[in-house]
Amino acid sequence: MALRNVPIRRKLMLVMLLTCIAVMLMMRATFFIYEYRTFREATQRELSTLGRVVAANSTAALAFENQEDASETLSALRAERHVTAAALYDRDGRLFARYPEGVADGGLPAAPGRDGYAFNGATLDGFEPVVQKDRRLGTLYLRVDAGAVMHDWIWGSLRIALAVMGAVLLIAYLISRLMERQISRPILALAETARAVTARRDYSVRAQKHGQDEVGLLTDAFNLLLVQIHAQKTALDEHAIVAITNDQGALTYVNDKFCAISGYARGELLGRDHRVVNSGTHPKEYIDGLWKTIAQGKVWHGEFCNRAKDGALYWVATTIVPFLLSDGRPFEYVAICADITGLKRAQAEILTLNRELEQRVFDRTSQLEAANRELEAFSYSVSHDLRAPLRHIDGFAQLLNTRLDGKMDDTSRRYLTTVTDSAKRLGVLIDDLLVFSRMGRTEMKRVEVDSQQLIAEVRTEFQQEIQNRRIEWSIDPIPPVLGDPAMLRQVWANLVGNALKYSRRRDVARISITHRIDPADGHVFAVQDNGAGFQMEYAGKLFGVFQRLHHANDFEGTGIGLANVRRIVERHGGRVWAEGRPDEGATFFFSLPQIPEYRLHLAAAHL
C-alpha cells in the first residue's frame, strides 16, 4: 500500500516510532563507541589486576624454582575463560612454567617482553613483573582472547540495547496511540459528517468542532461550505422542481415542489423510476434523444409533459445535468424543472386565437379582393363604355365645325371649340383612369431594371415640350433595381413630368434626381424641383386619386398621376412621400426594397 494511502493515525504512529528508533540508534551508537573504549580499558585493567595476583602467587615458585607449584598457580587461570595462554619466565628470561599444560613453545613468546599489556588484533596480551620485596624474580605472560571477550560483551550490550529499545518502542507506541486519537478522531468525525450529508442530502447538518487547531479550521471551512450549499439549495428549492436519479433512472432525491406538483408522497417516489410521472405524451424518439444526450455527459434542455398522481397533466421546462464518474460514466442525473403548465395553456390559447384571427383576416381579404375586383371591372367597363359616346361627341362636333365653317359667328365657334376641348380632356381622363385601373390588375414582372436608362427615355419624351426652357438637370448615378420596367417607367414619367410642369414658371428650372440607400427603406429615390411647391399640411392628399392642390387653369392634370405612382411603388413593396413649401419647390421620394446584389442576379435569372 502506498504511504499516502496509509491512514493518518498509522502515519503518526510510524513517524513517532521511526523517530524513536532513529534517536535510539544514534544514542546507542554514540554510547557504544564510548562503551567500547571504556570496555577495552577495563579489560586491560582487569587483565593487569589478574596478572598482579598471579604474579604475586608465583613469587615463591620462581624464587625456589618449583615448577610444579608454578604450573599449579597458572592452572588456576582455568577459572578465567578468556585467558588462552600464560607463562612464567625466571629472572634470566627462561620459560619456567606454561599454561595450558600442553601449549607448544611456539605458542608463547620465547622471552619476556616489555612490561605492560597491549591489544594485538583480537588478542590482548602482555608481561607482568614478578616481584618480591622489590626484587624481580621473573616475568608473567598473560594472553586473553579479546575477540571472544568483545563478542560476549557486544552480545550482552546488544541484548540490553534491544530490551531497552523494545521497552521504549512500546512506550512510544502507547503514546502515539493516545496522540493519534487526538488527531484522527476529529478528522474521522468530519469525514463521517460529510458522508451523512451526502447520503441524506441534508445540508442543515453541521460538523462538531473539537479544537482550534488545523482540523478545527477545516471543520469551520466545511461548515461554511455547508452553509453556502444549504443557502443555494434552499433558493433552488424555492424556485424549481428538483429530482435526482441514479444511473439506472431510479429516483434518489425529490424536493418538496416535486412532491407537490406530482401529488405523490416522497416515500412513494424514492427508489422508483422517474417514469412514474410519465404521461406518454412524448414520442419515443424524443425520450431516446434525451437519454442519448445525457448518457454522453451532455446537458439536456427541453420541455416535458408529466402526469400527476391524480391523472392531471402538467408541463415542466427541464434541464437535466448528468454527473459523471472519473471514467466518464454517468452515476447521477440532476433534473431541475420549472412549472410551465400555465404558460403552455396560454400558448395554446394564443395559437387558437391566432388561427381564428388568420381565418377571419383571410375571409375579409377575400371579400375585399372580390369587391375590389368588381370595382375595378366596373370602373374599367365604365371608362371603356364612356369612350364610345365621347368619340361620337368629338366626331360630330368636328363634323359640325366642318359643315358650318364660315357660317358660324364667333360665339358659336367658341362654344364648339369648348365642346371639342372638353371631349379631348375627357378622353385623356378616361385614358388615365384606364391606365390606373390596369396598374391594379395587370400581372407585375420582376426583372432587373436600369433606372438610368428609364430616366433618359422619359427626358427624351419631354424634349418637345421643354425645348424653349432653361433647365438645369442634376442626376445621380442610379443603380439597377428589381421591378416591372413599364410600371417604373410610369413612375419616372410622372415624377419628372410633374417637376417640369410645376417649375415651368421659373426662369431657370432646377431639377435634381438623387439616390441613396436607407437602412429601413432600401433604395430611396428623390426628384426635386424649384417649382410651385405645396403646403406641407396637404402632403397626405398628394397621392390620392383626383386630389389636386392646384387649379387646372394653373397647372393642367387629371389628378391620377401621383395616385398611379403610389400604386406602382406600393406594389413593388416600397412607399412614397413628399416634402415641399409653397413657391419654393417640392421633393418627391419613393423607395424600393433593396435586394442584395447576388439575389438580384439570381432573381433576374429565374424570371
Partner: protein, 192 residues
C-alpha cells in the same frame, strides 16, 4: 640486572639475550647439575631468597639499617657463590652480609644460619645458642628438621625442595610469608 636494564632499551635485545642466556643456562645446567658446586649455587640463591619471604622482628636488628647476616656454620660448601649472590643486595634497608662461623655462640648474631650436613654434630649446640633469638635455621642434613631445624633443603629427582618446620619457625618469632609455604612441604615438629 644489567641485562634487564638493557632489555628495557630494546625488545630485540631482550629476545637475543634471552636466547643466549637460556642456552647458556641449559648448557651449564646439564653439565654442572650433578656437581655439588651447581647444587650449592642454587642453595645460595635460595638462602638469599629466604630474606625476602621471611620477616624478622625489629628487635633482631640493632638499628633499622643494620646488616642482615647470613651465617654459614661449619664447613662452607658455597665457596664464593653466596658472597657473589648477596653482594650489593639488601633486604629492605638491611644490607646483606655473609659470615662464616665455627663457634655455636656466634650463631645468635646471625639472621639466617645455614648448617651444612657435616656440621650436624654440633647442631644441638647451635640450636641452644639461637634459642630465643630470631634466627632462621636452614640445613640440608637428613635429620635436620627432626632435630629442630626450621627449613631443610631436600634433593629429589634432581630438584631442590623445601621442608619447613613451621612450629620451629614460629617459636623463633619469625614470620614466614604464606607464599613461601606454597612451594614448600610443611612438616610437624620432629618430623622429617
Amino acid at each position: 640486572m644489567a641485562f634487564l636494564k638493557a632489555a628495557t632499551r630494546s625488545r630485540r635485545w631482550i629476545r637475543w639475550l634471552g636466547m643466549v642466556v637460556t642456552f647458556a643456562g641449559w648448557a651449564i645446567g646439564t653439565s654442572a647439575r650433578a656437581e655439588t658446586a651447581a647444587e650449592y649455587q642454587v642453595k645460595a640463591v635460595f638462602l638469599f631468597n629466604f630474606t625476602h619471604f621471611v620477616e624478622w622482628p625489629p628487635a633482631a636488628f640493632k638499628s633499622p639499617d643494620a646488616p642482615l647476616v647470613i651465617g654459614i656454620f661449619g664447613e662452607d660448601p658455597f665457596g664464593r657463590t653466596l658472597d657473589d649472590v648477596v653482594r650489593g643486595e639488601k633486604a629492605g634497608l638491611h644490607p646483606l652480609v655473609v659470615r662464616r662461623i665455627h663457634d655455636p655462640a656466634e650463631a645468635a648474631d646471625c639472621h639466617v644460619l645455614f648448617v651444612f650436613r657435616s656440621a650436624m654434630s654440633n647442631f644441638a649446640a647451635v640450636l641452644a645458642a639461637v634459642r630465643d633469638h630470631a634466627v632462621l635455621t636452614v640445613g640440608d642434613g637428613d635429620d635436620f628438621a627432626r632435630r629442630g631445624g626450621m627449613i631443610r633443603f631436600v634433593t629429589a629427582s634432581n630438584k631442590i625442595r623445601l621442608r619447613i618446620n613451621l612450629d620451629a619457625v614460629r617459636s623463633a618469632g619469625l614470620t614466614v610469608s604464606s607464599k613461601l609455604l606454597r612451594p614448600a612441604d610443611i612438616v610437624p615438629a620432629g618430623g622429617d
